[in-house]
């Protein structure tokens, strides 16, 4: 008799990694942080029509409890330092969505003296959402892509370089 038949039907079996990732991807809390017009679309995404909440993503007003920072809008050099500070205040594991052309590469303003050409020059980015600004559907798609990425993570196996070091 196999082990799987020994447990009652009400019990599910899974991998610990998969369970952890499933719980984490279903509660990606994003920081209340907007920079420009993309932030207006981000508000719409959190609003009742596209309702990011149904994927477990709700806005948080402090970086200390946020899992995700959505860089939504033109990043000036002045703001870049502050964005980096906010990112460093977030607890691991943390994710970054770069929303819109400006955050991706500086967009329309990339030749301006005051603009940082892309948030990836300051903090590592997980998902880039194109658009100027992206529609709420696009940002929702970005969050779903991030959830896919979270589900592929492995926390309980040692990475090969750690094995070699041990």
């Amino acid at each position: 008799m196999s082990l799987i038949n020994a447990v009652p039907e009400t019990v599910l079996t899974t991998k610990v990694d998969a369970l952890l990732n499933w719980t984490r991807k279903s509660s990606v809390w994003y920081m209340l942080f907007g920079l420009a017009c993309c932030a207006i679309e981000m508000m719409q995404t959190g609003g009742p029509r596209s309702d990011l909440d149904r994927f477990g993503a709700v806005p948080r007003a402090t970086p200390r409890v946020s899992d995700l920072i959505i860089v939504s809008g033109t990043l000036t050099l002045k703001m870049a330092l502050r964005t980096k500070l906010l990112y460093e205040q977030m607890a691991d594991p943390k994710y970054v969505i770069s929303m819109g052309s400006c955050a991706n590469c500086g967009g329309l303003f990339q030749l301006a003296y005051s603009v940082c050409d892309g948030v990836d020059k300051v903090i590592p980015v997980d998902v880039y959402v194109p658009g100027c600004p992206p529609r709420p559907e696009a940002l929702t798609e970005g969050l779903l892509k991030l959830q896919d990425k979270i589900q592929q993570e492995r926390w309980l196996v040692r990475k090969s370089d750690e094995v070699q070091a041990a």
């Binding site: 050099l77 870049a80 330092l81 500086g106 990339q110 003296y113 050409d117 892309g118 020059k121 300051v122």
Partner: protein, 165 residues
């Protein structure tokens, strides 16, 4: 009152401190001697016939060829619904103008912006700091001879053209 009439009254009151010609346009402009700006503006605000309660805009232009920085003041009167713009010129090497903070409080931030981007110093300004650019920024970006630095706190300001990749 139309702008020509305001200009005529200014000429009567301040004489040579006001330019003879009035540049036409949607917001007719006359030049004011830089040392008289505060006095002229205070009179335009307080005179019951003009009553310019509102400093709509304050901006600057770097005229490198003329070796001057021109500062424009756009005035509007809600009471009389008339408008005029004043222009003051100041040397590029040492640009100084009197502050208008005690005439229109809004001038505080507008003059800070002009100082930030063009380097015009407004004498007697209560709080002349940068307002748009970072506090440790070097140079004034709207000057024609401003050279963009290659990096700012380790952030490169250059990006290769995506078309060349």
């Amino acid at each position: 009152m139309d702008a020509a009439e305001i200009h005529r009254r200014l000429r009567d009151r301040f004489g040579a401190a006001i330019s003879e010609e009035l540049a036409p346009g949607p917001w007719p402009t006359c030049e004011v001697r830089s040392s008289a700006v505060a006095e002229v503006c205070r009179w335009l605000r307080d005179d019951p016939e003009t009553r310019f309660e509102c400093l709509s805009n304050l901006s600057g232009v770097d005229r490198k060829a003329a070796d001057a920085i021109e500062v424009y003041y756009h005035l509007y009167s809600y009471a009389h619904r008339h408008q005029i713009a004043l222009k003051a010129s100041t040397p590029r090497l040492d640009p100084v103008l009197p502050t208008l903070c005690d005439v229109w409080p809004v001038a505080n931030w507008l003059e800070r912006e002009c100082f930030d981007l063009l380097g015009v110093r407004f004498s007697e300004h209560p709080d002349l700091r940068r307002i748009l650019m970072p506090e440790d920024w070097v140079g004034h970006p709207l000057r024609k001879d401003f050279v963009e630095p290659d990096e700012y706190h380790g952030i490169s300001t250059r990006r290769e053209s995506l078309l060349k990749l």
